[in-house]
Amino acid sequence: MSKEWPLWEIFIRGQHGLSHRHVGSLHAPDAEMAIKNARDVYTRRNEGVSIWVVKANHIAASSPDEKGPLYEPSESKIYRHPTFFDIPDEVGSM
């Protein structure tokens, strides 16, 4: 009757002021246990101040095949970067 525990993706906030970052995954029967396990697995050396857990099958991801069409539009718009514009030295920092 054994059923494998579901997989959870773990996100940890390294320190106050930073966003949560994906650190890995683990198995747990529910969210509460996933947080407890994440504490033991991913924060044994003060790596975090906050943990998020998300069931792995709830994550939707972009497909690697669409990489071209997804990101190409931004590649041609270099004027979106501040360095595109030359500002004279006399004006000072801007």
């Binding site: 054994s2 059923k3 525990w5 997989l7 890995g24 029967p29 529910d30 991801a61 690697p64």
Partner: protein
């Protein structure tokens, strides 16, 4: 190493002419050190070889807890006990990182564990040797984890993203393992004559098994080529072994202990230490299942898995009950 004699899922290296366009694009990415991620296209053999290698690596971390766990209750001081406990807990974590990395390729952890328990997957030969006394625990941390680090540092550059990231994490923690082991041995080497004798005895027994961890000589290692081309393996067995020997000799000299190999000699010309081969027939025998502890190690793992079944099932049932109640209340 922690993954030894991984049979690459295909024999020989595919030439560029033999490759399909997709395979060529894949190989180009690998050659340019662009990491392969779970959703990217990859050759079936790459996937199969990686699952085998990461699975064996994960099993080694988990089985590796047994020879050390053996000494947690008998550590000489409370501090050493706490340190050993932390190290053994790390090994469980390392096993978990690696199982997770293997799972990104679509193989479930339970399935990998089942293959191990059925004897269809292996773990590192080193864990089939016993830890007879406290000096062995020091020597294991220093030499076995030391050897593992040499391999794992190289594997940080492996082509598969999740494997590489697991290695980076593991290496950070592993350095604590080697240092605590060296520290424990240092205490004994500079202690009473009896303690020093114990330390020497541990080194005598564990040296050759430790250098066997890197696997057979390159000339005998028939499966490596494709794995190297795919950067699943980054350095050859002999390169890694040499690196380990070179870094370990100054450490042992400092301790005033000796390596049980009269063939150790600095080779000016090569810029490396010469050393003797271990008894490879012993290595192949241990791999086949005839080491001193093979039977016990597997028996203990299977027992731990079976004894834990009611906990896994119970927690799952509890989680389902809670979910059903929540749904009913809404």
């Amino acid at each position: 190493m922690y993954a030894q004699m991984i049979k690459t899922a295909r024999s020989g290296v595919k030439s560029r002419e033999e490759m399909t366009d997709q395979e060529r694009a894949f190989q180009d990415k690998v050659d340019r050190d662009i990491k392969i991620e779970p959703q990217d296209w990859m050759p079936d053999d790459y996937r199969a070889t990686l699952i085998r290698q990461m699975g064996q690596h994960a099993h080694s971390e988990v089985v590796g807890q047994l020879p050390e766990g053996n000494w947690i209750t008998r550590a000489p001081t409370l501090e050493r006990k706490a340190i050993l406990l932390a190290k053994v807990q790390d090994e469980a974590g390392h096993g978990l990182y690696l199982y997770s990395a293997a799972e990104t390729l679509g193989e479930s952890r339970d399935e990998l564990v089942r293959l191990l328990h059925e004897g269809r997957m292996k773990y590192s030969s080193i864990f089939n040797y016993p830890t007879l006394n406290w000096a062995d625990i020091g020597a294991v941390g220093w030499l076995v984890d030391g050897a593992a680090i040499v391999n794992q540092v190289a594997l940080q550059r492996t082509s598969y993203g999740p494997y590489s990231r697991a290695m980076i994490r593991i290496c950070k923690e592993e350095s604590f393992h080697a240092r605590q082991g060296y520290h424990a041995i240092m205490k004994m080497a500079f202690g009473s004559p009896e303690q020093k004798k114990m330390a020497q005895d541990a080194v005598n027994r564990l040296w050759f098994p430790a250098i066997m961890m890197f696997g057979p000589n390159d000339s005998e290692s028939t499966h490596s080529e494709q794995s190297m081309a795919w950067k699943i393996k980054v350095k050859s067995n002999d390169e890694l072994r040499q690196q380990f020997v070179d870094q370990t000799i100054p450490q042992i000299e400092y301790l005033g202990l000796e390596l049980p190999d009269p063939g150790i000699k600095w080779n000016e010309e090569r810029g490396h230490y010469d050393f003797s081969d271990p008894d490879w027939s012993e290595f192949f025998d241990v791999i086949k299942g005839n080491g001193p502890c093979n039977v016990d190690r597997l028996k203990d793992r299977v027992k731990a898995w079976d004894d834990g079944a009611w906990v896994r099932d119970g927690l799952m049932a509890h989680a389902e009950k809670k979910r059903a109640r929540k749904v009913a209340a809404e």
